[in-house]
């Protein structure tokens, strides 16, 4: 009966455009679009087409919350964008937005309070809020959690569903989802998608979702709108229609734009030596053992100083995974898979000499250590980078300068050699035009390519990557996979933590499957 409270919203855009403060070109311009109440729209288009800008505008948060738009006076809006005939800002609570980063979707530290937050802000009477909270949690499949459950204990997929519940409790007529599953593993993606589907079926709300992975949302939406990067006088909408028709008509164009079109795996370079490593070895060096882990237990926590009872000796942390054995060989790929919380990243970071083992050993063979000692964790940073390079999940964590070119020359400068490789990397990873840009201002795909290039500039023999394909468009994905396959053939060992089966198929090699949490 409460579904009756939800009145689906209509969206109307007429010649709408937005230029962010401090930018010379508009993020989106000339948008004409009508979305009728209850429609479900998937928004596609190359990066830079203004998809996120449109969602933020509909959510009424453009120019808010600091960042590039802190100075909203300098931003510029043209045309009109209306929800139910009024500007989104005047329609507080009519639209609810879920964004990409699960960590910043959570506001409060208890599940029930977090869901109640939006409804409180809309001045809903308290008694009704709790009814809505229970209902919203049931809708997203989190109904079994106690209201006092700590939000920090939720997985990424659960956090995104919690965010959805927080939106639902506001009873919005328009759901806006901005790549809600880009940071999730496959199970999390389905959890969120199914929760959205259930909620829409029940409430009949209008949906606008932005996502590269069409196959996830294709069956849930009844319309696809393809946007194109704005140029004056041209329409922002390139294509608009039912999913099957748009996908058939625009297939080639969408593939070229890096959209993940169902049934299409982007072409990648094949391993010349055969992915399994059983083919002819490309060089003398391939197959040599470089790094081995034995009965390894891993944790991100450091040993804790004990109390009286342990006579003040250090107490080792509880490992998230133990008894791991693995071998890293030159020219061979090693893929680490397993469910969330199994300690995959922690293991990879320990293998890479960045975390100290809780128990067991990580040892470098003399081929890798070349006089630096057996334990990678004990190496100095300058000894580490030409031996083991690590690409983190979030590229921004690794940026240390304010300019793309400086990022690339940073490693070689630390080492005092290898600057000659920078030019090749710029070319190979298509960063040539960006040399003077600030790394933080790049697009997601560009940041990923840069972070790989910066680590490779030190010419490591072992490359460790943590979820390198998360949230990447199909073009970046294919480039990355091809590039790594080339590196493997050249004798580099590649260790990757990934949920992406297609990606590990391209690289071949061995798979190390970690089981659920040791506890």
């Amino acid at each position: 009966m409460n579904a009756d409270d939800v009145r689906p919203a209509a969206v109307t855009a007429r010649g709408w455009g937005w230029r962010h403060a401090g930018r010379s070109r508009p993020a989106i311009s000339g948008l004409d679009l009508d979305i009728s109440p209850g429609e479900r729209v998937l928004l596609l288009g190359p990066s830079g087409a203004g998809k996120s800008t449109l969602l933020h505008a509909l959510a009424g948060v453009l120019g808010e919350g600091g960042g590039a738009d802190a100075d909203a006076d300098d931003a510029d809006e043209t045309g009109s964008l209306l929800i139910d005939g009024a500007p989104p800002r005047d329609r507080r609570g009519r639209a609810g937005l879920v964004q990409q980063d699960p960590e910043t979707q959570v506001v409060l530290s208890r599940v029930g309070d977090d869901v109640a937050f939006g409804a409180e802000n809309l001045a809903v009477p308290p008694a009704e809020i709790w009814a809505r909270v229970g209902e919203a949690l049931d809708d997203v499949g989190l109904g079994s959690l106690p209201l006092g459950h700590p939000t920090s204990a939720l997985s990424g997929g659960q956090k995104q569903r919690l965010a959805l519940a927080g939106i639902l409790a506001m009873r919005p007529g328009l759901l806006l989802l901005d790549e809600p599953t880009a940071n999730l593993d496959p199970a999390g993606v389905l959890e969120v998608r199914d929760a959205v589907g259930r909620c829409l079926d029940r409430t009949g709300a209008t949906l606008v979702v932005v996502e590269h992975r069409v196959s996830v949302w294709k069956d849930l939406v009844d319309r696809i709108v393809v946007l194109q990067p704005g140029s004056a006088g041209e329409s922002a909408v390139l294509l608009d229609g039912p999913p099957d028709r748009v996908l058939a008509e625009a297939r080639e164009m969408l593939i070229a734009a890096g959209v993940w079109v169902p049934g299409h795996v982007p072409a990648t370079r094949a391993r010349s030596a055969g992915g399994t490593g059983q083919g002819p070895e490309p060089g003398l060096e391939a197959g040599r053992l470089l790094l081995a882990a034995e009965s390894l237990a891993v944790s991100r926590d450091r040993p804790r100083r004990g109390g009286l009872r342990t006579r003040f000796r250090a107490v080792p942390p509880v490992p998230v995974q133990e008894g791991i054995a693995a071998q890293v060989r030159a020219g061979r790929a090693l893929t680490i898979t397993g469910p969330n919380g199994a300690g995959k990243s922690t293991f990879a970071l320990t293998l890479a000499g960045l975390l100290a083992p809780v128990a067991g050993t990580v040892s470098a063979t003399t081929d890798l250590s070349a006089g630096a000692g057996i334990d990678p964790y004990a190496w100095k940073a300058q000894q580490l980078i030409p031996r083991i390079g690590t690409v983190f999940q979030e590229p921004e964590h690794q940026f240390v300068t304010g300019r793309v070119l400086d990022e690339l020359t940073f490693g070689p400068r630390q080492l005092g050699r290898g600057a000659d490789r920078v030019d090749e990397l710029l070319e190979r990873l298509r960063l040539r035009d960006l040399v003077d840009a600030n790394p933080y201002t790049l697009s997601g795909g560009e940041k990923r390519r840069l972070s790989v290039a910066t680590v490779l500039a030190a010419h490591p023999q072992v490359l460790v990557l943590d979820e390198p394909t998360f949230g990447q468009d199909a073009n970046t994905w294919a480039e990355l996979a091809s590039f790594l396959s080339e590196l493997l053939d050249a004798g580099t060992a590649v260790v990757s933590v990934t949920h992406d089966a297609e990606f590990s198929d391209v690289l071949g090699g061995d798979e190390l499957k970690l089981q659920g949490a040791a506890a």
Binding site: A59, G60, V61, E64, G65, G66, G67, R92, A95, G96, L97, Q99, D101, E103, T104, V106, V107, L108, S109, R110, D113, A116, F117, G118, A119, E120, N121, L122, A123, P126, I129, W130, P150, S152, G166, R300, G307, L349, A352, L354, L355, A381, L384, I385, G389, T390, F392, E394, E396, H397, Q398, F399, V400, F410, G411, Q414, Y440, T454, V455, A458
Partner: protein, 267 residues
């Protein structure tokens, strides 16, 4: 670090009391103890406080884990007072420059006990008060602006995340060849770089969180509260408890003749 923001299932009696009532109780005790340096008032208050531990769900081990810096500071303060205060009465120990007399020992002991008696209620308060409940009470009952209170509460959740972020950035920088070894100057530089990285991430996270809150209608003039902060009968007892502890401490000291007003003359 992140768990510190909830009470981890603390179901103790005092965890259910209103944060403002608990705070008033603590203020009462603290003010009474701050007035005099003497061991009688401090010990009386201490005895009461130790008796209250179970009501706050605190065990000695937990207390040590959360309050050891305060406890150490109190001990250190007591010790230095004992050796540095002007001697009065019989000299007990004399090692050249340092001497401990009956008078200075008494003063030092008073200092130690008083330090503990003032520090423990704060630890007690923190371990049985959920930050969310505190925010509710501050905004609804103390009438602080809700934008400020809720903004601070949401930001506090990010502080825990930032501790993890610091570790990740440290590792990520090592993977770029930035060492944290070397001369003090090099270490300081590395630390500065890492701090900058953290600052950038903190700002980005904060602005995304602000968008999240804004998108959930935060910032309007009027809002309701799903959790109503209210005073109950329990809170009367909590405040009364504060009055009793403060009162008996003062009365015992006066009766024992050790009451020793610190600020006498300034008041």
């Amino acid at each position: 670090m992140r768990e510190a923001l909830t009470l981890e299932g603390n179901r103790a009696l005092l965890a259910r009391a209103n944060p403002l009532a608990k705070f008033s109780g603590v203020v009462l005790v603290t003010v009474a103890l701050a007035l005099s340096i003497d061991w009688v008032s401090a010990s009386v208050a201490l005895v009461f406080e130790v008796l209250l531990f179970p009501l706050a769900g605190l065990t000695p081990a937990l207390l040590w884990r959360r309050g050891w810096p305060l406890i150490l500071a109190a001990a250190l303060g007591g010790w230095s007072t004992a050796i540095l205060a002007p001697d009065r009465g019989r000299i007990l120990v004399d090692v050249g420059l340092w001497s401990i007399s009956e008078g200075s020992l008494q003063l030092g002991l008073g200092f130690l006990l008083r330090g503990l008696a003032i520090a423990l209620p704060a630890v007690l308060l923190m371990s049985c008060t959920d930050p969310t409940d505190l925010a509710d009470a501050l905004a609804q009952q103390a009438r602080l602006p809700h934008r400020f209170v809720l903004g601070t509460l949401a930001a506090m959740r990010l502080v825990g995340l930032m501790a993890e972020e610091w570790q990740t950035i440290g590792m990520a920088r090592r993977a770029r060849g930035v060492g944290s070894h070397g001369s003090p100057a090099q270490r300081a530089r590395a630390m500065l770089g890492q701090s900058f990285g953290l600052l950038v991430q903190a700002v980005r996270r904060a602005s995304r969180l602000a968008v999240t809150m804004e998108a959930r209608g935060f910032g309007g003039a009027r809002r309701t509260w799903a959790r109503q902060a209210r005073f109950t009968g329990l809170d009367v007892w909590v405040v009364l408890g504060g009055v009793v502890i403060a009162g008996s401490a003062v009365a015992a000291a006066v009766a024992a003749g050790t009451w020793n007003m610190v600020f006498l003359g300034q008041q």
